[in-house]
């Protein structure tokens, strides 16, 4: 990415990112409802235990998604 050239760009980007963070915080405050997410979370746990293998369940073949969740579990429990 190009380096940020001036303060105007920094101000715009900070404003947008602040909005995003506030919105995310509001949404995170709500209750968690997991549906398909459970398959990814379960696969991530298996990946950390070294027992993961893609199977007939559609969600288990999306490797990078599972790996990113596994990394999150690895660092934040």
């Amino acid at each position: 990415m190009n380096a940020i050239a001036n303060t105007k760009e920094i101000v715009i980007l900070i404003l947008v990112l602040s909005t995003a963070i506030v919105l995310s915080y509001i949404f995170y405050s709500g209750s968690f409802v997991y549906y398909d997410d459970n398959y990814y979370i379960f696969s991530a746990h298996q990946m950390l235990q070294g027992a993961f293998r893609p199977n007939d369940i559609l969600f288990t073949v999306e490797t990078l998604t599972i790996a990113s969740i596994a990394i999150s579990f690895l660092f934040f429990g």
Binding site: M1, N2, K8, E9, I12, L13, L15, V16, L17, T19, A20, I21, L23, S24, F27, Y28, G30, F32, Y34, D36, D37, Y40, I41, A44, R53, P54, D56, I57, L58, T60, V61, E62, T63, L64, T65, S68, I69, I71, S72, F73, F76, G77
Partner: protein, 170 residues
Amino acid sequence: MQAALPSLVEYIATIIVIFFLSRKMSNDYFGGIASFLYATAPFVVGYTTRALPVIFTGLTVAIACYYIYDATKLKSERAMFLAGFFISLTMLVKTAGAIMIASFIITLAYLYAHKMFRKYKRMLAYAFVGMVIPLLIMVLYLYLLTGNTIFNLHSYAGIVNLAPTTVLKT
């Protein structure tokens, strides 16, 4: 919270990529408006609280778009390589990303047919090398774990071939 953390990080990263892409295409204000629209889109914000590949797919495609724009504007081989790489990476995030790869190939064919690469044929080679690297990793990984190099496509085919009215026997 930890399960949805990658989605949140990817959401922030996508906003930044969209800002820089739109700024490059037009100006600061356009970048601000485009990234703001993405940041406040209800479905996007909603999906940041889920452990799904939706936001991650958006990020890889946004990065690919950034490099595609760079490649076509600056005739940069490096940018074309990275564009191909990130487009293919989408398939490792979500198998339906195969559609993105097909779209990318069709776009390259269209540009080639219109002689956009007349002086820059090497760029096409760079795009294909970029695309092949993540796909080779995917094929090797699937072969080692399942013995089937296109196991993910087989999984998807099983779903796609079901008619909406099919009654599943358990």
